[in-house]
């Protein structure tokens, strides 16, 4: 009857965690009454249940998970959907469309479309099945998809959605976070997308540290302030910046002739060519084509309407 780890200690596979009347849970196994870790992760004791929260790993579907997937095949009245991880999911038209629907279901959703859906069933015998019956599950149009490690998703959502709501509020973006490590981001301008990516990456690398929400909030507040500052009157701000930082490095004549060019800040409206660092992050850009009648839940063409409520509540 003993526990051999501290709260939130980083443990390695095979490490003895507890002995005696303790129960195993995720990331642990029992051998001869002793409980060992089976993962590298943070050990936790809840009641008398020992668990290890993984620090990394691929996505394994779980019933009830909200996921973001890409349609890969339209097969009869099924869609085969890639949700990441080792298992491909399928979505039956009955679970997505209202009857009656046309025989050719690709009219509603076609290859390449990105959807948010719920895992309705998954076990060892039969691969994951999806459903889009719940409210808010729909084709995601516009925006982009960011992939993060699925193990960090709980951290990105935060307790009762505190983290993701905070990010949405700061940046005024729409986002849907899938348990499969995909985050759909839709924002009016590129600068905010970049900030969102920065925030999510920061959470990913610092997921095992405490007080993260506050730090992210602070970082975003500062960055947004900068953004807002530069928005209404770009000229004076740029000049001050150039004088401040570039003067020692640049020859005086460059400074006079071209003030705007060496500006390090990203212009909010620079929508055109993707910057190299951003291209690295953007896994997949959802095509912004109008979809005629995707009425999964009665909410059509919600492009211009803020969709944050999905996440916020």
């Amino acid at each position: 009857m003993a526990v051999y780890f501290q709260k939130r200690e980083v443990v390695v596979p095979g490490q003895l965690l507890a002995e005696g009347r303790y129960r195993t849970s995720d990331g642990t196994y029992d051998e001869g009454g002793k409980i060992y870790s089976s993962l590298m992760g943070l050990a936790e004791l809840k009641g008398n249940t020992v668990r290890v929260v993984a620090l990394d790993g691929t996505y394994i579907p779980k019933e009830g998970d909200l996921v973001i997937g890409t349609i890969k095949i339209v097969a009869g009245n099924n869609w085969k959907i890639d949700i990441g991880g080792p298992y491909g999911a399928s979505l039956h038209a009955n679970n997505a469309l209202r009857r009656p629907y046309s025989d050719d279901i690709s009219e509603y959703m076609d290859i390449g479309d990105v959807v948010s859906a719920e895992i309705s069933a998954f076990d060892r015998q039969s691969g994951p099945f999806l459903s889009m019956r719940e409210r808010g599950l729909e084709v995601l149009e516009g925006g982009m998809i960011l992939e993060v490690s699925p193990a960090k998703i709980p951290r990105i959502i935060g307790r009762s959605g505190s983290m993701i709501n905070m990010i949405n509020d700061h940046l005024r973006i729409d986002s849907v976070v899938g348990q499969n490590g995909r985050i759909w981001i839709k924002s009016p301008d590129v600068a905010r997308v970049r900030l969102a990516i920065k925030a999510f990456r920061m959470i990913e690398t610092q997921a095992h540290t405490s007080n993260l929400t506050d730090r992210i909030s602070k970082m975003l507040a500062e960055e947004v302030a900068k953004l807002v500052d530069s928005e209404p009157s770009e000229e004076p701000r740029t000049e001050i910046k150039t004088v401040d930082e570039e003067e020692p490095a640049l020859a005086p004549e460059t400074e006079v002739s071209e003030v705007i060019e060496p500006k390090p800040e990203v212009e909010p409206k620079a929508e055109s060519e993707p910057q190299p660092e951003a291209a690295d992050e953007i896994e997949e850009v959802v095509e912004d084509k109008p979809e005629p009648e995707v009425s999964t839940d009665g909410k059509n063409e919600s492009d211009d309407k803020p969709e944050t409520e999905e996440v916020n509540k």
Partner: protein, 267 residues
């Protein structure tokens, strides 16, 4: 390292080995975790002059499909040597030896893994020998098990491995290349340290029964030591990151978080 000459002795009159080690001393070992960005998990090992990188991908969908196992994941290990890893250029085509070592490594790692958690999927382990100087299969197992842990594959424990051999009639731990070539035998072994099970035991050369038993005991002791190094290497990855503000309110209480995650969907 070009024209190989057989050294005059493998054990000096003082009882030290060709590189100055004691018989039961390992070469200096450096383990690093997370060396590859694209892999789900990775590790490198430097053991003397041997240098190996291991990368783990998956669990992921298995292709070709006919290899799938319905009740557990398939463990696919690919051990390759770089053309420049040995003094004579190694021909780049996969050799019989590489295929055999791949299988041997897979067999020694399998008992440690909970592959039944991912039916029909595959866990890919790619091992690349950058520089070979004896003991590559054991070093590869050390690195591969770290990479598997880094990838978050559930496992019983890490798998340390070491080769014990015989040269000039003396038992030696962790053979170097010359000791391997000119010695009288070689016993690579891998163990599961939590239960002391042996998952790899091969032998070439001649050993008396007592010698083999003693060699195995030496091997187990060295493996235990290696296991400590492996644990350190894994923990180091997360230790160096700042974990300030003790634990005040670490709001990520996974139980609650997972429950809350659902609100993102419904409502």
């Amino acid at each position: 390292m070009s024209p190989e000459v057989k050294p005059d002795f493998l054990i000096s009159p003082e009882g030290l080995r060709i590189d100055g080690r004691r018989p039961d001393e390992l070469r200096p070992i450096e383990l690093k975790v997370g060396v590859l960005k694209q892999a789900n998990g990775s590790a490198s090992i430097r053991q003397g002059k041997t240098y190996i990188i291991a990368g783990v991908y998956g669990p992921r969908e298995l292709h070709p499909r006919h290899l799938t196992i319905n009740d557990r994941a398939y463990l696919r290990v690919v051990y390759r040597m770089a053309t420049f890893s040995v003094p004579d250029r190694k021909r780049p085509a996969p050799s019989r030896r590489e295929r055999e070592i791949s299988m041997v490594i897979a067999n020694s790692l399998k008992p440690a893994l909970f592959l039944e958690e991912y039916p029909k999927a595959v866990v890919d382990v790619f091992i690349q020998v950058i520089q070979a100087d004896g003991g590559t299969r054991c070093a590869a197992i050390n690195a591969a098990s770290l990479a598997l842990a880094d990838a978050g594959i559930p496992m019983r424990c890490l798998v340390p491995a070491v080769a014990v051999g015989k040269a000039d009639g003396k038992l030696l731990v962790d053979l170097g290349d010359e000791e391997d070539k000119y010695g009288q035998g070689d016993v690579p072994m891998a163990i599961l340290p939590t239960t002391d099970e042996i998952t790899l035991l091969q032998q070439d050369g001649f050993f008396k029964r007592e010698e083999l038993v003693e060699a195995m005991q030496m091997g187990i002791n060295s493996c235990k030591y290696l296991h400590e190094l492996q644990k350190d290497a894994l923990k180091r990855v997360y230790a160096k990151k700042p974990s300030d503000g003790e634990d005040e309110e670490y709001e990520d209480d996974l139980e609650t978080d997972l429950g809350d995650a659902e609100i993102a969907g419904d409502e």
